[in-house]
């Protein structure tokens, strides 16, 4: 009886496993680069990593990626491990901008070049920082919404995880740019989560009838919110440019999103790592453009 249950369970997992598996491959190279990434539990960072992987093959470098699982302490030990593996360049996407400084200094003490991606490191100087500006992105979303709505129309803002830098910056960019032009009637957190995006939107729609626009600080939340908005006239704007959001724009369900191009951040990271290894000079900060995606240009971004 028990054996049957276990066999059944293992069989089931095999089915599930087969419906979504891939493979790995490796290659010889001329230098090693370490990449400590904050989390791979988020499509944004997965695209960043995938692009870095692809670029590593192109420039013939070996890339070792360690996932810190959003744990600043794990990131410290990850970087120690990478330092011991004789890397020439360290790419860091910090979990915590403040806590990362000692690890970066330890790497630099061994002569390793350091590049920060997407999030900065405070209290330490690095070879270059590659990121896009979230405040500018929030402003782009605001300007689009202002152009589509009438003066003082009611809008709702779904916020990210309270205290997260992306939530603060995107919110600040949006709020400053709509000030005096649109009326933000509700600002509530849905913690960057799709399920909460739905339930918080449902609740806010009850309390704020007649709202004309919704800005969510990431695409997961706006995708959830779309399920709760029946009025086709409401202008909806997300942030990140995930595959789902782009598809929704193509299908006419979502009006716009601000694309961050994490793949470009990852690819530029590897490109500049290669330059550092060759001894070439690089810029101190490398901005990555943000793009507002609407039905007009969505075809350029859909894979």
């Amino acid at each position: 009886m028990k054996k049957k249950i276990i066999t059944l369970c293992l069989g089931l997992f095999l089915i599930v496993g087969l419906s979504g598996c891939g493979g790995n491959e490796s290659k010889e190279s001329e230098g090693k680069v370490g990449f400590s990434i904050s989390t791979l539990n988020n499509p944004f960072f997965v695209s960043m990593k995938d692009a870095a992987d692809a670029k590593a093959k192109e420039v013939n470098l070996t890339l070792e990626v360690l996932d810190a699982k959003d744990d600043a302490a794990k990131q410290v030990s990850d970087i120690e491990a990478l330092i011991n593996k004789d890397i020439k360049v360290l790419l860091v996407n910090p979990v915590d901008s403040k806590a990362i400084a000692p690890s970066i200094k330890a790497a630099q003490a061994k002569g390793i070049k350091v590049i920060t991606l997407d999030r900065t490191a405070e209290g330490v100087s690095v070879d270059t920082h590659i990121a896009s500006d979230n405040v500018a992105g929030g402003k782009m979303a605001a300007e689009y919404m202002v152009s589509k709505l009438k003066a003082n129309d009611k809008v709702i803002e779904l916020q990210g995880i309270p205290g997260a830098s992306a939530a603060i910056d995107r919110g600040q960019g949006f709020d400053d740019a709509v000030k005096g032009k649109l009326d933000i009637v509700a600002k509530q957190t849905a913690n960057f989560d799709r399920a909460q995006g739905l339930s918080v939107m449902e609740n806010l729609a009850q309390a704020n009838p007649g709202f004309k626009g919704v800005f969510a600080q990431n695409d997961e939340m706006i995708m959830g919110a779309l399920q709760a908005i029946s009025d086709k006239e409401v202008i909806t704007v997300g942030f990140d440019g995930t595959d789902d959001a782009l598809q929704a724009i193509k299908d006419g369900k979502l009006d716009a999103t601000v694309i961050q191009q994490p793949d470009k951040i990852g690819a530029l990271g590897m490109e500049n790592a290669a330059k550092l290894i060759k001894g070439e000079a690089i810029e101190k900060t490398i901005p990555v453009d943000l793009v507002l995606v609407t039905s007009e240009n969505v075809a350029d971004f859909l894979k």
Partner: protein, 309 residues
């Protein structure tokens, strides 16, 4: 007996007080639309909390429910998208969740490991598996399977389907607990496991079934969630165990097991549900919401304790 009835009564009073307060504070709270909305929102936590009541009644705990929810919803959508008929995909998804629960149960009952430790470990394993099968990306339900969306989004006689499922599950779980021999076994294991074993109850088997059941209700919650959203997220279910445990505890079920009621759990689920809804309706700034939620939970448990004494 009297004590249990009394604690049931206090959680009910706490709920009424909160309900009336919110009705006065927000004009949008006490409307048919809003209340149906709340019921649909609580169906996810409610299903998990139903299973969690059984687990806690035996003196156990299950921290892996959120992870099981995430894995089951992801596997159901992947199976569905691979072209398998909707009904079959749902059954397979439910089986996946049940199996994960049974595996928890085997480690707990047969290997005599602490439920806290076992499920803490399986959270990590199951979350990892979800990331592997999904490649860490959300997966949308393909447009060829739109009938799947009916479970989370549909209505029967004006009542959302998730609400009907929730109420049915609670009635079944209540009936089993009150009137079937299995229910008595659940209570006696929580009261004193050794005595239960000596009196001829197959305690291992009962516990494995209970962990299987919570796996089943978590998977059901996962299916409803993915159907409601039209997609499965690799992050779905994060932290859901805490809301479920909170609902059971607010309902007055003691964490040491043996005492508690499933009806009170339902009230606990309602309290958490109207609280989240009310905080949004009132426009309480995000930074303060966690404080209010924590304070209400603490207050509800405190009242319960004071009344008992």
């Amino acid at each position: 007996m009297k004590k249990i009835d009394f604690s049931k009564y206090t959680v009910f009073i706490a709920f009424i007080i909160l309900f009336i307060t919110l009705s006065f504070l927000s004009k949008d709270f006490l409307t048919k639309d809003n209340l149906l909305l709340v019921l649909r929102q609580i169906s996810i936590n409610g299903l998990i909390a139903a299973g969690m009541t059984y687990v806690i009644l035996t003196g156990g705990i299950d921290l892996s429910v959120g992870a099981i929810l995430g894995f089951s919803s992801m596997s159901t959508v992947l199976i569905l998208n691979s072209g398998i008929p909707t009904i079959l995909a749902i059954i397979l998804g439910l089986l996946v969740g049940t199996c994960l629960g049974v595996l928890n149960g085997i480690f707990i009952a047969k290997a005599k490991l602490q439920p806290f430790i076992v499920t803490l470990a399986t959270v990590s394993i199951i979350k990892g598996l979800t990331l592997v099968i999904s490649h860490s990306m959300p997966v949308s339900v393909l447009s060829s399977h739109l009938d799947y969306l009916h479970i989370g989004q549909g209505f029967v006689l004006g009542i959302p389907i998730p609400v009907i499922i929730l109420v049915l599950v609670f009635i079944i779980f209540w009936f089993i607990l009150m009137y079937l021999p299995f229910g008595k076994k659940v209570y006696s294991i929580g009261g004193n496991e050794e005595v239960a074993r000596l009196s001829g109850i197959k305690t291992d088997q009962t516990k494995i079934i209970i962990y299987g059941l919570i796996g089943l209700t978590s998977a059901l919650a996962g299916i409803i969630l993915s159907s409601r959203l039209g997609s499965a997220s690799p992050m779905a279910g994060n932290g859901y165990e805490l809301d479920a445990i909170a609902a059971v505890v607010i309902g007055g079920t003691t964490l040491s097991g043996g005492k508690g009621s499933i009806v009170a759990t339902f009230i606990g689920v309602l309290i958490i549900g109207i609280l989240s809804n009310g905080l949004n309706l009132l426009g309480i700034p995000s930074d303060y919401q966690n404080i209010v939620k924590g304070a209400v939970i603490l207050f509800a448990v405190l009242i319960d304790q004071l009344k008992k004494e």
